[in-house]
Subunit: 451 residues, 2 copies
């Protein structure tokens, strides 16, 4: 079933954007209010997610809706933009159609692929059961559930060894996400939950950050990386570098000769492209990302652009990073090149405006690096705060996040400390889901074990 957009007027071109993340939303905005284009933006979620703050949802500091806005709401006023909730299964480059979940096809004149990446478990997909990653809101609330449940289960656990395991948290991968999550968990243990338990001391929890490479935050300069390691140590995070994870099961992690007992393992290492890339039959890199040319289009397919994490773009021999800034800039630029083509003007070559990168470590520290600045400590953290607040889409989100942060900064409390269920079970909505990791807590009052 092939469909033509009924809103399409004679002479108008059809642009399809797949993905409502940074790249897709900025591309659509760039194409808003034009008479010669109809834009259809397709996403499988109804919201645009501000991924850089996802770890704060996972660590109970923010609410899901603080970092997500309905995509429809962004484009209410732009009549040439329609938003569709659905999944694009494949792209037929030859026929210039995309195929949806029910087999229906929609034609395009221009296509922007901006559907990002997901976690990769180095060929061990089973690990995902035991070590969820942090790319979606559901994963974030699942990680939050696991962190908070671990303390509750430890409070009720009579066996000291099991209690110690429950109070051990392992984060695999010391990139920005891993560093930020580890810092946040350490703060939950040492500041947020302190005094709330009677049988355990949350501040005795162990937070391990495992990194295969020689240091944390490898994309930063070495001295900043060293500083971050020091800040992590001060927070109580134990960073272990040069450590390869050999296996993960529901009770722990094995790295070489060492077994770490912990049901609380989180994954922040490695990504791979959305499956859609495989349907194209074009050149992909090892992670499945689509290799694109200097105008951001796929070589041989000037009508198809790729933006953000899904793109493999080399500039001066350097592969561009999977950062929000890159997604925003490529999204806008692809849209601009479409406009040049509409006017039969030559396209331009994308240049990356490197605005730098930052990572926060706990509540008062961060590292920040641009072409000309290297910073760490409190002022870097303030800069981190400001940049993230200003980048949040929508005045409302800025306001609520500011309120939450202020609250959490002043009182060291977390606003979203809820253990919600993994699933809503019909007829059984009155109990926590029994899983090996969060079995109904044994109902007992135990003497505090010596940790």
């Amino acid at each position: 079933m092939r469909i033509t957009n009924p809103h399409l007027k004679p002479g108008q071109k059809q642009v399809i954007i797949v993905g409502g993340g940074f790249g897709g939303v900025h591309a659509a905005k760039e194409l808003a209010n034009r008479d010669d284009l109809q834009v259809v933006l397709i996403d499988q979620r109804n919201y645009h997610l501000f991924q850089p703050l996802l770890y704060q949802v996972a660590s109970a500091a923010l609410n899901p809706s603080d970092i997500a806005v309905p995509i429809r709401g962004i484009f209410t006023k732009f009549q040439n933009i329609s938003v569709h909730l659905g999944r694009v299964e494949k792209v037929n480059l030859k026929e210039r159609t995309i195929t949806g979940g029910s087999g229906e096809q929609l034609s395009y004149d221009y296509l922007i692929l901006a559907c990002g990446v997901r976690h990769s478990y180095f060929g061990k997909p089973a690990w995902e059961n035991f070590a969820p990653g942090l790319k979606t809101l559901e994963q974030a609330t699942e990680i939050r559930r696991r962190i908070l449940s671990a303390f509750e289960l430890a409070e009720n656990e009579p066996d000291p060894a099991k209690q110690k395991a429950l109070l051990t948290f392992v984060i695999v991968g010391a990139g920005p996400t891993g560093v930020e999550l580890a810092g946040a968990i350490a703060e939950i243990a040492t500041k947020v939950l302190v005094d709330d338990f009677r049988n355990i001391k949350p501040e005795t929890a162990t937070v391990l950050l495992l990194e295969m490479g020689p240091r944390a935050l490898t994309m930063f300069a070495e001295d900043l990386s060293r500083q971050a390691a020091k800040d992590l140590k001060d927070l109580g995070v134990e960073l272990r570098t040069g450590v390869k994870v050999d296996s993960i099961d529901e009770k722990g992690v094995v790295c070489g000769d060492t077994r770490i007992e912990s049901p609380n393992v989180f994954w922040a290492a490695g990504v791979e492209a959305d499956e859609i890339s495989k349907s194209l039959g074009v050149e992909l890199d090892r992670a499945g990302r689509i290799v694109i040319g200097p105008d951001l289009s796929i070589p041989g397919h000037p009508e198809v652009f790729v933006s953000g994490d899904l793109a493999h773009l080399e500039i001066d021999g350097k592969v561009m990073p999977g950062l929000a800034q890159f997604a925003i800039q490529t999204g806008k630029f692809a849209a601009k090149n479409i406009k040049f083509s509409m006017k039969s003007q030559p396209r331009k070559t994308f240049k990356y405006n490197d605005k730098g990168q930052m990572a926060t470590i706990g509540k008062r520290k961060a590292v920040l690096q641009t072409k000309s600045i290297k910073m760490h400590g409190y002022f870097a953290w303030l800069a981190w705060l400001l940049v993230h607040l200003l980048s949040l889409v929508g005045f409302r989100n800025k306001m609520t996040v500011l309120t939450e942060w202020f609250w959490s900064y002043v009182f060291s409390k977390r606003g979203a400390r809820l253990i919600t269920q993994k699933e809503w079970r019909f007829g059984k909505d009155l109990g926590p889901t029994p899983t090996p990791l969060a079995a109904p807590a044994p109902l007992s009052v135990q003497p505090a074990a010596k940790a």
Copy 2:
């Protein structure tokens, strides 16, 4: 396995409170900071839920964490109170023990049962699949998911009949919850989502409120009930009284000769007691609630009290209502009677201080009734606002709810318009859960059907 609380000092009595709702939390607060008592508060959730505002989570106005606070956080400072996450399976009145999910037993000297009620489907538990109720946070986010998904699916639906069904919302039961939910859904359709869609007009949605009795809000005076019906009509809600639901399936509702096509049915009719009451072997009412005496204890068991929705208490021949006020007052009073018994003083007889009741209808109307006042309209709504805001536990929740309400009042937008998944699927975290009610939306751009 019988356990004695290791924190229990010689001469101290053990109080167990089952349930961290209004009754349980207020009972525990009343017993805080006493040297002669150790209190264990057990709940299967880690949070205290402000149930009167649950419909606002279901209608995307508030976040789950706006109306929930961690129970532990309430009692951090009170060393004689421990909070336990777990489910109490049964009570042995003769041996004075409770039994937890793993078979372990804990003895009590005094017991307060405050574990509330759940929805009852009049002996048709299968209906719950098609018509979720509104008692828990998970149910609220599930209802939110269904409401928002219905509009998304309607936008993509080519068949006008199916589209009309998707844009039909049915609420069964016109008590306060049903009235409030119906009003909120009508506002979503007519104010929040307006202009966000291209193929449908959300404001053409039908909101049906079905009531078996002769009028809405039967517990209010007749003139207020009439006023509420008028306010509902103004909002676009169609109230049908004297209607008995004969069956519910995934595609609609049958009432006598009428079939209403709608996959969006929500249940706000009838409750039954928590299952624990059946394990007691004492007198229960038809809904399974425990019949208690004037001091709030179970006849023949002066050491066991019942508080809130779970209690069946008659005063002057009138059965007490399942309101937050009743739960708070009985929770406190049961605790006070325990203190009298500790001092070997005679117990007192519970008197209900009727502070009245209220229900809100949309964003600017409410009905309010106390012994001396009957009010409706804007000022009743302001009173509703004030009472609910002041009753919210914790300064932080007051602040964030006030912010959300202000936002929503001024801009007619909703802060929590997120369709989150029913479950987090390992290895498949990138798509909406396929269920008959929210199958992956067909990816198509359809001409707007005439509704």
